[in-house]
């Protein structure tokens, strides 16, 4: 105990090394990590997936199974009720470890949907924890559980005690899990991506709760996330982790104002923010996180670093830039005055994510210099002059709910309930909303993957609009030649048993565009177009990374040279840096091939970045439609405002002061009367519950539509237009630091 850290620290990890043994060899997942958390502090641990964040945080409480893990080196000191305790030495002593878990340190996990036991009531699961650590009588434990459920903001806490996991929504489950974690008043909460699996509005609620509970329960938090926005608003200090090493540590202000390490700079620049210039290339990091067994010698980031120099073959020293800001990079090692390279000017141009060290034939990237969106905004005139790609009118998709032995229809899920949209040629229409709002169904409707229950679909392959609402599958095949679709999960949307040549070439053969050798050639061209190598045709999907798989899916969607592309959450399953690469690719291809696009996503920042116009969807209805920038700056529907407010901005101090939407998305089978948003709307009036507002133009703006009773009166807050909208956000974040904090 003589080298125990000072009492101010709740957690002190010193030079932790964890390796995993497998048949393939030994890989070092955590390679000398040092990290501390002080009393009452929230520390963010940031990095892309596969960087060893989870192994680090799980090592603290001995949740990493060993074997296969081996703790080669390092100490983890934890402040417990018995004083400072070193936990690595306790891994063999499960009893001592168990006394710490749940009592001195607790943990919440990434997937609230799967982290609550499915067959035990919520009450029983929480009281179990109390009874394990404290000898109290069951009635008292029961009372304490109810109090705790109340504290985490679950409505009707006593009623929740007898409910099961499947009766709670994702957000409610995460609240219940937080209650479970904190019921014994631990000093440290470990949060492993606690909001990643949740919708943006729910994410904002949970982050708010964590911030609030930190104060009320005077605890510290160690938070893992890949989202720079989340840490900016929540953390006091940040450690950036890459391939088992901490590459930069600093206060949240320092990190965002002057990110020192090139990886940190890259992460910040990769995120499409609400302030970036739309339809421009994001400054992405090149490549992807390599396999742990392929970690470069010396600086682990060297092969992706834009500032790489010969010295990087050696392990970089940790340089103290300021009192509370250090980084492991050679750039700062010999310079007396620490001055990071300007992120805005020196970051690399976007390039492909073929992680191979050898040079990869890169795509002909056309830099988009124009700052105006492709088409002029304003609703398309109903006249059919060939300028309209797709027009849907009053389209609906209803699913019957069948119950009982005789499968009687007891209700209807109105997944899509009367949607009108027009997409002009060359235009990108962004469709945004929370999960369950029906946006994916719209994408499946316009490609006729599902049959519409009502309404009219018209599509113009290359000339006049033609009715496709009820045409036969045979005729639809001809139309589909002009449509491409990219799906969310790049792994499950590619047939694992088919090689890339057959995956990408199948549409060519199906539409008899090419056969035999010609297919190989065309597939080769397509692959090069999306930034892969033509020679990789014979490989199977599992041989590619997530980003590369999404490129394959894009190549397949574009094989028949369609004029229209539906992209359904094409980047939400990808890491931040890869997400930026794919968005850049989509923008480039759209420009090259003059594609029209329906871009579906839940993240309004991503949608804003690629779209000309945005349609906001809530419970099967469009609630707002208009120019992408206009909607973000001057939203007219409270739901749009809520979506904007929920996006965690990668700018510390710029906290959203707006009121967050209350509660969860209502049941689409039983939508609220009147305005569907009124149950969560902070501006709700009596009329909202009675009368359903129609989508109508805002007075004085013919191209901005809203479905709110008070859209002409409400003064809603969007994202401020910052400066002259010059990219990137990093610079803005710095420049605006002082004045935003002052407010």
């Amino acid at each position: 105990m003589n080298n125990a850290p000072d009492s101010d620290k709740v957690l002190d990890i010193r030079n932790l090394e964890v390796s995993f043994r497998s048949i393939a060899g030994t890989t070092r997942a955590v390679n000398g990590v040092s990290l501390d958390v002080r009393s009452g502090e929230i520390v963010g641990l940031v990095g892309e997936s596969g960087c060893g964040k989870s192994v680090t945080i799980r090592s603290i409480v001995g949740l990493v199974p060993s074997p296969p893990a081996r703790f080669e080196n390092g100490e983890i000191w934890l402040r417990t009720r018995r004083g400072m305790t070193e936990t690595v030495s306790l891994f063999k002593d499960t009893k001592a470890l168990r006394q710490i878990r749940g009592r001195d340190v607790s943990m919440i996990f990434q997937e609230p949907m799967r982290s609550v036991h499915p067959m035990m009531t919520i009450g029983k699961q929480i009281t179990e924890g109390i009874l394990e650590h404290e000898v109290v009588d069951p009635a008292e434990a029961y009372e304490r559980t109810i109090e705790m459920l109340d504290l985490v903001g679950l409505p009707n806490p006593a009623g929740q005690m007898n409910r099961y996991a499947h009766e709670l929504s994702g957000g409610m489950r995460q609240r219940a899990l937080i209650a479970l974690a904190l019921v014994c008043h631990p000093q440290l909460l470990l949060a492993d991506e606690p909001t990643t699996a949740l919708d943006v509005t729910i994410q904002a609620q949970i982050l708010e709760l964590i911030r609030d509970l930190r104060e009320r329960m005077s605890m510290s938090v160690l938070l893992i996330t890949h989202n720079m926005g989340v840490v900016a608003n929540l953390a006091d200090r940040i450690s950036v982790m890459y391939l088992g090493k901490i590459v930069e540590t600093g206060t949240v202000e320092e990190i965002f104002k002057e990110p020192a390490h090139p990886y940190t700079q890259g992460l910040l620049a990769s995120m499409p923010s609400l302030f970036s210039q739309p339809k421009t290339h994001l400054q992405s990091l090149r490549g992807v996180v390599p396999e742990l067994s392929m970690v470069p010698k010396g600086c682990v980031f060297a092969d992706r670093c834009p500032h790489v120099m010969p010295k990087c073959d050696e392990t970089p020293p940790v340089v103290e830039l300021r009192a509370d800001h250090s980084t492991a990079c050679w750039l700062y090692a010999d310079v007396e005055e620490p001055h990071g390279p300007d992120a805005a000017t020196t970051l690399p141009a976007p390039s492909d994510d073929g992680a191979q060290a050898e040079s990869v034939p890169s795509v002909d990237v056309i830099q988009l210099t124009r700052s105006e969106p492709v088409s002029d905004t304003g609703e398309a005139p109903p006249v059919d002059d060939g300028s309209v790609q797709l027009q849907i009118e009053n389209v609906a998709l209803h699913y019957p709910i069948l119950r009982g032995l005789l499968r009687r229809q007891v209700g209807t899920v109105r997944a899509v309930d009367g949607v009108d949209l027009t997409i002009r040629r060359g235009e990108t229409l962004g469709l945004v909303g929370e999960s369950g709002c029906g946006k994916t169904s719209v994408g499946r409707l316009v490609t006729r993957l599902v049959e519409p229950s009502a309404g009219r679909l018209r599509f113009g392959a290359d000339g006049q609009l033609e009715e496709i609402t009820h045409i036969s599958q045979k005729e639809m095949k001809r139309v589909r030649r002009s449509m491409g679709m990219v799906f969310q999960d790049p792994l499950s949307s590619l047939n694992a048993r088919m090689n890339v040549r057959n995956i990408v070439g199948e549409p060519l053969m199906l539409h008899e565009i090419a056969r035999g050798k010609a297919v190989d050639e065309r597939v080769g061209e397509l692959l090069e177009m999306v930034g892969l190598r033509a020679a990789h045709q014979s490989r199977f999907p599992h041989a590619f990374s997530g980003g590369q798989r999404q490129r394959i899916a894009i190549a397949r969607a574009l094989a028949t040279e369609p004029s229209f592309l539906v992209a359904d959450e094409p980047v939400s399953a990808l890491d931040v840096s890869v997400q930026a690469q794919i968005l850049n690719l989509l923008l480039t291809l759209q420009e090259q091939l003059s594609l029209s696009m329906l871009f579906i996503a839940h993240d309004i920042a991503v949608v804003r970045h690629v779209s000309d116009r945005i349609a906001v969807m809530y419970l099967g209805k469009i609630v707002e439609l208009g120019n992408a920038l206009e909607i973000c700056v001057r939203p007219i529907h409270p739901y749009t405002e809520a979506l904007l407010a929920s996006i965690p901005l990668p700018m510390p101090g710029l906290e959203t002061v707006r009121e967050l939407p209350k509660g969860d998305l209502p049941d689409p089978a039983n939508p609220p009367t009147g305005c569907r948003f009124h149950t969560r709307c902070p501006y709700s009036q009596p009329i909202c519950a009675e009368e359903e507002p129609v989508l109508r133009p805002l007075s004085g703006a013919a191209d901005h539509f809203g479905a709110c009773h008070f859209q002409d009166e409400l003064d809603l807050q969007g994202v401020e237009e910052i400066g002259d909208l010059s990219p990137p956000a990093v610079v803005n974040a710095g420049e605006n630091m002082s004045n935003t904090q002052a407010t």
Binding site: Q99, R101, M107, F109, R114, S115, H117, G129, E132, Y164
Partner: protein, 331 residues
């Protein structure tokens, strides 16, 4: 919960009716009439013609022969429900008499096999999963694979051979020692049966037990990888509580739901073993009746076995609903 039970109950009755209808059609399929066969048989046995007439008339009335098939089916079904299984042409005895003891013995052996399977397979499967890749796991994996792949009649033959050559036993086959085979039920006979029955349980249950070990191991491994197990660990619970209170109840789910299915499987699976070991079970009787085209007997056995399957499934469904709140919720 009530609607769920009611639903399952109604489904059970529908399945039973369908099976009875199919069985009835099978009974009706052979050309000619059961009464002609019966008359011929009785005549061959030199029975008094008056008796023949009255017997035939009795059957005609009971089964409604000569009327349309709906009424005939109704009467047949009704007499089945009253426990009248019809008449075995091969054995010249009522089917229920032939099935009687064999049926109850078969039921007991099947249930005992199930219990044996449960008691042996669940703990071994759990242990294999918890100590994955340990020596325990490897040896049980080996044994389980062996158990799955060796057909039960081979095991039975090997047992016969070993007990005769190594132990010098003379009465390995059968469910009873020779002196008790025809004896009335008594305590001594019961004790004698217990001495024999464990070998049968082992032989009949080995394949299923081995399969269940594999299923249990795989399910337990899946469950232990679920995030809610991490949640449970992070509460500071002991391993035993994590395994038994949190993991077991989820992992055991498919095994319970398969019980209903296993029941008839055990009955038919035991047939070959029963033939090899000359056990008085229902399987050999069914085989016999099928070979001898003894349709009433065969159909009665089929209906009874179906009833066992359906009731087994019903009980398994109830057990699942009791165990898993999600199933209660869905209904």
């Amino acid at each position: 919960m009530k609607t769920y039970i009611l639903q399952r109950f109604i489904q059970m009755i529908i399945v039973m009716l369908v099976v009875m209808l199919v069985s009835f059609i099978i009974v009706e399929l052979p050309p000619g009439d059961f009464l002609t066969t019966l008359r011929e048989q009785l005549t061959e046995q030199n029975v008094d013609p008056k008796v023949i007439d009255s017997t035939v008339e009795m059957y005609r009335a009971r089964y409604g022969l000569g009327e349309n098939w709906v009424i005939r089916f109704g009467k047949w079904a009704w007499s089945l429900m009253k426990g009248d299984m019809g008449y075995s042409m091969q054995h010249n005895r009522p089917a229920s008499e032939l099935m009687g003891e064999r049926l109850s013995l078969t039921m007991w052996i099947s249930i005992a096999t199930l219990v044996f399977m449960f008691i042996v397979a669940v703990p071994i499967g759990m242990l294999s999963a918890i100590r994955q890749y340990s020596a325990w796991d490897h040896s049980f994996t080996f044994l389980a694979l062996l158990g799955v792949s060796v057909p039960s009649f081979i095991t039975a033959l090997v047992f016969l051979l070993l007990s005769v050559t190594l132990l010098g036993a003379t009465t390995v086959a059968g469910l009873f020692s020779p002196e008790y085979v025809t004896a009335e039920w008594s305590w001594a006979k019961f004790v004698d049966m217990l001495k024999h029955v464990w070998i049968i349980l082992f032989i009949v249950g080995l394949g299923d037990t081995a399969g269940t070990i594999r299923v249990m191991r795989a399910r337990m491994l899946d469950t232990l990888g679920e995030p809610y197990i991490d949640t449970a660990r992070m509460k500071g619970l002991s391993s035993a509580k994590v395994y038994f209170r949190h993991a077991l109840r989820v992992a055991i789910n498919p095994i319970i739901s398969s019980i209903g299915m296993r029941f008839p499987q055990i009955i038919s699976g035991s047939t070959i073993v029963a033939i090899v070991l000359t056990l008085p079970l229902i399987g050999p009787l069914l085989l016999d009746s099928l070979l001898g085209e003894d349709v009433y007997l065969a159909c009665s056995i089929l209906v009874v076995l179906t009833l066992a399957l359906v009731i087994g499934n019903f009980l398994a469904d109830l057990a699942l609903a009791w165990l898993d709140p999600r199933i209660r919720f869905e209904s």
